[in-house]
Symmetry: C2
Subunit: 244 residues, 2 copies
DNA sequence: GGACAATTTGACGTATCTGTCAAATTTTCG
DNA sequence: CGAAAATTTGACAGATACGTCAAATTGTCC
């Protein structure tokens, strides 16, 4: 019964042997269930016995894997938020791409991540007002960065004559909102895959800013033509279906 | 949490004189503060002393206006949800308007309501998973009706040749999501008014479905799509030829 | 001022939740 | 098998939350 109570053993550094509870199967099960429960009912409203019960454990067994409920929250936030944050800032830093392709890339990446991690996204959205101050600060900073990235792309597109938008901020928020909300309705088991929905979101984002089709590279032209073909075929299928 | 109270006066019947607490100023203050707190932290995570403290009351004074925390929730849900529900179903029932105007109207109405009641909307969205079963059922029914209304308008627009959209459901969800998310970023004190933002949302919704002012016949649309396909293939052939 | 109702409060009881700890049980491995 | 480690459990303590109630305070009207 080595509890290693005093030592902060939850640092992400790769201590190989000492930490008694790390990367355990049950630990990951708890994290996953907790994310779903927190996403559904919120952090404060979710009781520990629910978390434990969801993975078939007694409430006290939980404390073998996490020192406290707050530590569970921090572990969850670190796991979920950091990946999202990194992904966002990475994409937005590039300046070598023209605004239309840039918007396409950023929406596909952001929306794609949400569609592939709807539970995590809902968890973060739901618990962002209950986070401890330090984490709330970094989270808000990341959100602001994300918004600024979108606004920057839209503004560049306007300035360079690609987009026709009156207010870059409203347009960015509308695109972001469209993507965000997909976490509340998308189900991977549905008729459309995450990649297909992501492509649709990209298409709608481009329509929102009325991006002009001034293709740049050959590769990009091919991609656009293929996308256009796909859309045409889908529309034709729809027309054909409504025929009978 | 549901405990049976003794024969108190918590019947919602409109007895004009007997109920000692109804339509009081403090009662409305409590409702308003509670909506904001529930929207921010969720129902289960918000403690009663916070609600009472937000309006300058002691915790026990709260029980003079509401028999229990659950009754506060139900009162809040009834007040917030019913107005939203009625508004939605009213607009969507009309069939005398052409799809483009219909979409304009429905988005302006729905988005406008959200922009004018962001706190209520966030409250409903946040607590919808903590509602008592009966209320959850009606709420889900209303949500489904709303979605069906949007889908119906989009589908009509497609069939009548106004809109160019591959999947009516995804388009409807995207428009709804764009509107919904405004509750999380819009502030009435900002540079743009609710009416202005609402107009922008309408504009973006119309762009999303690529609404055209004049409908085209189905036969004509098929011809156009085929022509579009032919052109795409020709362009792709050209790109392929110049590749080698 | 005084009677009466409206409103607020402090003390109390109960239920629930978090977290601790020693003991019990299971698993691992020599 | 048997010992040590890993894992789980039940009992317990402290804190907090909800709700009740009688008493106290405030406001109103004559």
């Amino acid at each position: 019964m080595r509890k290693r109570s005093t030592g902060k053993d939850n640092v992400p550094s790769a201590a190989s042997d000492a930490p008694p509870n790390k990367n355990s199967f049950q630990r990951n099960e708890i994290l996953q269930s907790a994310a779903a429960l927190f996403a559904q009912k919120g952090f404060g409203a979710t009781k520990l016995h629910e978390v434990a019960g969801a993975v078939g454990l007694s409430r006290t067994a939980f404390y073998y894997y996490f020192p406290s409920k707050d530590e569970l929250l921090t572990a969850l936030v670190e796991e979920s938020t950091f990946t999202l944050q990194r992904r966002l800032t990475d994409v937005a830093q590039r300046t070598d791409i023209a605004p239309p392709d840039m918007l396409r890339t950023i929406v596909a990446d952001y929306g794609g991540w949400i569609l592939n991690h709807p539970t995590e996204f809902r968890f973060v959205s739901r618990t962002e007002n209950e986070l401890p101050p330090a984490m709330a600060a970094t989270h808000n900073r990341a959100k602001r960065q994300l918004l600024d990235s979108f606004i920057g792309v839209v503004r560049q597109g306007i300035d360079q004559g690609y987009f026709k938008v009156a207010d870059a901020r409203i347009a960015a928020l509308s695109v972001i909102g469209m993507c965000n909300w997909s976490a509340w309705w998308f189900r991977p088991t549905g008729a459309l895959s995450a990649a297909e929905v992501s492509g649709t979101l990209v298409e709608y984002a481009m329509r929102m800013v009325q991006a002009e089709t001034r293709p740049r590279s050959k590769r990009e032209r091919v991609r656009m033509e293929v996308e256009s073909l796909r859309e045409s075929i889908a529309r034709l299928e729809g027309l054909l279906a409504s025929e009978s």
